[in-house]
Symmetry: C2
Subunit: 353 residues, 2 copies
DNA sequence: GTTGAGTGCTTTAACGATAAAGCATCTCGA
DNA sequence: TCGAGATGCTTTATCGTTAAAGCACTCAAC
């Protein structure tokens, strides 16, 4: 029964089984700790597996178990530019951590070949390369998201998707957060002529953060002096917004940026115009993905727990995959205001080292 | 022969074949455009596949073809902190682009469970989850890299690995690049009392960039006034280096940082100490992964084509996997000096908008 | 002393795709 | 007219794993 000297192929369960003198089935059961296998055989099989360096074939397993042992992280190629590198790394870290805990691989899917008709990520799942997907920050108008959710495949979204009631999602309350940070500028720092530099308004995040700004301004009864400029979450657009406002002669004393990148760009521009931050104009950012701590003056911002969101979203995804879950749901995480120098809360000297 | 109403499982080749009235084999050959199948049957099979939304099972294929259809991008968890988010996103983008061109999935592997004895990424490949791996920026002392290369599995490294002569790698000449940018400070801007803030010296990148700095300083005959401080590629360490130097009363007029993050930190610290950049102290960074363009003053730096490196490394990996390749090799890409404000090449006003 | 329930393995079958070999049927040259 | 070859599919086997059923054998109970 000995087979000819094995070709340069890898070690399979059969090799382990032969070494012990049992069938592959028995070896499989032994490694899975089945009660139907004697302790002695289990011992022997485990020993043989270890000594041969046996690692189960993922393809064999996937085929037999109808389970890929992988989850996909989908990055619509548009939003790769809209959101920053830091954001995706935080998300990737969170997804990886959760996946590792479940002995699962992480597949990153970046393309979305519209040409094919079937979205690339739907193919990923229909081909059973992944058992489920995490999808983040697509444009509101992206109907691939709707289709994916509607397809019934396990999907968890990161962010807010009010137009997709059937979706399972994890996010933060951007409206409340933006309201709160705007209110901070008004009440704590006495600012009353505010500007909001919004994110792209075809993304829910952009819409919600603007809504929060507007509601806070309205609540304070100063909506006549509020103003909104649309940006694209990029540094340049923050700088451009400032340049435009200054050129227009608009008089303002506070700015709420929809993210830190734009705030950073705005900060540079304000400096270039010789405007003192926070004295003349107090500014706040949003996200706290790393940049805000390092600018000078450091940026006061709203911390968004991106990594944790991703972790929880992935945990949720495993529940869906395992069928442990109960219908649509939305989980909301808390954001934390991080007071720094740019709004006037701390002085430069008081910044963390 | 009709089977009972299919359970809620996905569409397989058998469904397609039954719809057309041929065997799964014929359907397979039709979809693979075999010359042994008539044009009419091919047409019918393709039509049926399209109408049913058939997508081949990756597990079935992987098992039969002994090919996972995926490559792994390995991120040693230590270097995730050593190198920045931007770097990995550039690498991920490059790897994805090349993988997409080969209809291949990208697996991101972050853990390295030393506990198991077998490195996690060796498991990934032995389990045939991936056909090969891209590995970047591990510490010189990481013997898992050596083992992985020695194991004979297809691996391409990004960076320089002089201690691994058998490796296939893609990188830039850090020594020459660092020499060149240091020389720029000396010859073009007449600086003669230089400091190098090095990266971690257990990483080849840190070692090489220091070597380039030292050789340039030696070539200019000013080595007595050269000084090296070790950092860790993080912003804070750049700032700490400056603080230390200033506190020590050391007199210098130029700084070569081993990456932009540290240069950024240094810049902030210099500003805090009221030191004019570039007038009093000219500084240069390294990498140009995004940050350098946006600081004020903008950072002169050496552009490292990370995304292209990753793309080419992945192309090379496919050659290895397909057996088209010829032994070990190292491909070197060109770096480009990007003159900006921090060394004195441009004035603030002349910066790109 | 036969039945019944364990115990511990082997046999069988299946997951989905696809090379390789097999077998009809048709076509053509000698 | 008859084999050779081409044509177009079917049969068979395999990749690695594992659930389920099967089959010897032991031991206890009635």
């Amino acid at each position: 029964m000995a087979r000819s000297p094995r070709a340069r192929t890898s070690i399979t369960l059969r090799d382990v089984a032969e070494l012990v003198g049992v069938t592959p089935s028995a070896a499989s059961m032994a490694l899975l700790d089945s009660p139907r296998i004697s302790a002695k055989t289990k011992e022997a099989v485990r020993g043989a597996a270890a000594s041969l360096g046996y690692v189960p074939s993922s393809a064999g397993r996937a085929l037999r178990n109808q389970r890929a042992g992988a989850v996909a992280l989908i990055v619509p190629n548009t939003s790769q530019h809209v959101f920053g590198h830091s954001y995706f790394m935080h998300v990737l870290t969170g997804v990886s951590a959760a996946a590792n805990a479940h002995d699962t691989q992480v597949l990153v899917s970046t393309s979305s070949d519209a040409a094919n008709g079937v979205a690339a990520y739907e193919r990923v799942m229909r081909s059973k390369s992944a058992d489920g997907a995490i999808l983040t920050s697509a444009a509101v108008t992206d109907l691939n998201v709707e289709r994916l959710v509607a397809s019934g495949l396990p999907v968890v979204l990161i962010g807010n998707f009010p137009h997709l009631p059937d979706a399972v999602s994890v996010g933060v309350d951007d409206v409340a957060a933006s309201h709160s940070i705007t209110k901070h500028l008004i009440e704590r720092h006495g600012r009353s002529r505010l500007v909001h530099v919004a994110g792209p308004l075809d993304h829910q995040t952009g819409i919600d953060r603007r809504a929060g700004f507007e509601s806070a301004v309205a609540a304070a009864g100063i909506e006549d002096s509020g103003r909104v400029v649309e940006g694209d979450f990029g540094e340049e657009s923050g700088a451009a917004a400032v340049d435009e406002l200054v050129a227009s002669g608009f008089d303002f004393d506070g700015m709420v940026f929809a993210n830190d990148d734009m705030a950073f760009g705005g900060l540079q521009a304000l400096r270039r115009h010789g405007i003192d931050v926070p004295r003349s104009i107090a500014i706040v950012g949003f996200d706290d993905f790393g940049l805000s701590r390092a600018t000078s003056p450091s940026l006061s911002t709203m911390h968004v727990p991106a990594e944790r969101m991703a972790y929880l979203a992935t945990e949720r995804l495993f529940e869906l995959i395992d069928g442990k879950s109960t219908g649509p749901s939305h989980r909301e995480l808390d954001v934390t205001f991080i007071p720094r120098t740019s709004c006037g809360c701390t002085t430069r000297g008081a910044d963390p080292p």
